[in-house]
Symmetry: C2
Subunit: 347 residues, 2 copies
Amino acid sequence: MRTTVKDVAKAVGLSTTTVSLVLNNKPNRIPEATRKLVLKAAKELNYRPNHIAVSMVTKKTHTIGLILPDISNLYFSELAKVIEEQCHKYGYNVLYGNTNGTLEHEFEYLNLFVDRSVDAVIMTVSSNYSETDVKRLYEIGETNNVPIMMVDRTLDDPRFMSVLLDQKLGGFLATSYLINLGHKKIACITGPKNLRISIERLEGYKSALGDAGLPFDRSLVIEGDFSVDSGSRALPYILGQNATAVFSLNDMMAIGVYRECRRYHLSIPQDLSIVGFDDIFIDEFLEPPLSTIAQPVQEIGKYAVKKMMSVLEGKKNPCTDAGDTKIFKPALKVRGSALKFTEKKQI
Amino acid sequence: MRTTVKDVAKAVGLSTTTVSLVLNNKPNRIPEATRKLVLKAAKELNYRPNHIAVSMVTKKTHTIGLILPDISNLYFSELAKVIEEQCHKYGYNVLYGNTNGTLEHEFEYLNLFVDRSVDAVIMTVSSNYSETDVKRLYEIGETNNVPIMMVDRTLDDPRFMSVLLDQKLGGFLATSYLINLGHKKIACITGPKNLRISIERLEGYKSALGDAGLPFDRSLVIEGDFSVDSGSRALPYILGQNATAVFSLNDMMAIGVYRECRRYHLSIPQDLSIVGFDDIFIDEFLEPPLSTIAQPVQEIGKYAVKKMMSVLEGKKNPCTDAGDTKIFKPALKVRGSALKFTEKKQI
DNA sequence: ATGGGTTGGTAAAATGTTTTACTAAACTAG
DNA sequence: CTAGTTTAGTAAAACATTTTACCAACCCAT
């Protein structure tokens, strides 16, 4: 059985109050001798406070809930790793939940976590929220007094803290790069059409086209769902449109394009240039290494928990006063999947 | 503020006892009318039990601790995903911690988690345990009455439950495949030398060699550390030994070999055949797709939590009577990274 | 010796539940 | 009508802490 405060109190013949006082080194006047005595006994009995009991009275669990769409996705697993790492540094543990991108799961985990009295929630929402959904989400945070932070994707509500990426800039960077290589017919494989990040990345694409005086051609964009397979499925269409380059809104779909190109005996980048988005681990090991838009995941994760900790330890009402959004800048990472456009490259 | 039992008790003019009784539908004789009344009030007030308080009295948190070396590693992130998924199905949440493979972190998280009264711990140990380490680990489990399950890698102690892979068989399968393709000089890139899985996979390698009447040549094995870079570093040595094939003890190092081969302008599998181990997600997207030994991660994860749940809900002392080890069989997954050996292939 | 301040502590409440042991009232059988 | 049984419910303890409010004893100065 675990040692309790009572046990150590009994061992030293003092009250639990005194023991608790020294163990939490409260600024009470406790003579050095007593302090030493208690500390020694606690150590000998291998006393470790029962965190549940502590939480009961302090109302703090030093736990944060992390709600992600899919931890087996490289981007999120890396994000999860940084976040856990950072939380750990601040003495916090993380409870995590996989939503598979469904609204029901997002709410389910949120409720589960507030029931467990997490001190805060960091989540990336992946489905479409109606106004009432947003309201419901906000209210859960408020009535439980747990600050909610959106990472990677946000809701249209300034009351939530958000740490995001400038998605539009990412789309712009990728597309401009392709344009500068001389490509005129640049296809775009999007994510689910009404998902924020799809829209924003696509806006970057349009804006780069516009800046270069190139027309935006609706028939060059095809909807995917961020999965490898949807990338594969998109290729025939893209080829049909005589595109010479493609901007894939994430790396997974780009991988799908790679795979399909092999089936068609097309080579990247000679026959088709491609740039992805996310900079997942495997990009550099693909053949050819995939050029992509890199998100500063490490910084994003670090910033997110740092901000959250300051909210948690700050004086302001963590829930209602916290809203604030930070936007990180993505960067183009040139590897080997895009080439200067030359006429003969047409198939 | 959250609604408490007191609130709903007050709302219906009954005692908290009664409310608790109906909410937990205990087999007490409570008239249907009262039951309905309470349920209705609870719903209207949006009552949700405070899990911390419940844990305080029931001594169950419905939380399991998951301790892994590196969640950004594809194998572990997938494992983590299944485990979380399954736990969720049983009504359990998971607290997770990343150890980066260090013993200190393993103990740190274990302690942290038992302090938080997790009901069980599932972990993969990655460092070398001395006898006293094992003893210490066991004692933490015992004094806190939390069953500990080793997954993927085990300690030499029958008291822990373990769910493992038949590593030796995996090594055997990979090597036999290469032998059957006609290779005689098969190099092996190992993991850290005294790690169990390194040893066991290597044993499979030796045994396949033996079965085929091929000599075991010490100079054909080179130590890696399971990282991509260590795979890359191993290539020149392997080439120096005139090996025509290599068995990499994990896929990451195989990826390192791929990368280095490109630098040497060698092509796989024409110039070098390779088979990996783990079957991580990206294997099929490499060029050529990597043949490997597949672990049934899904099944492993499912089995692990199923077993754990039966222990948790069983009558036997979960800690001391639980020991039991299940061993899953790996399978060879042939893709495109190995070729029949022919003399002209020598460089 | 009285009163004020300091020193070294402690008892008890509080946290939100579950659970045990009990009881008052109503009903039933003889 | 009474004794026993059932019905419908409750008070209080327990869980392991922290924290608040208090107190006794001692010391010191007047």
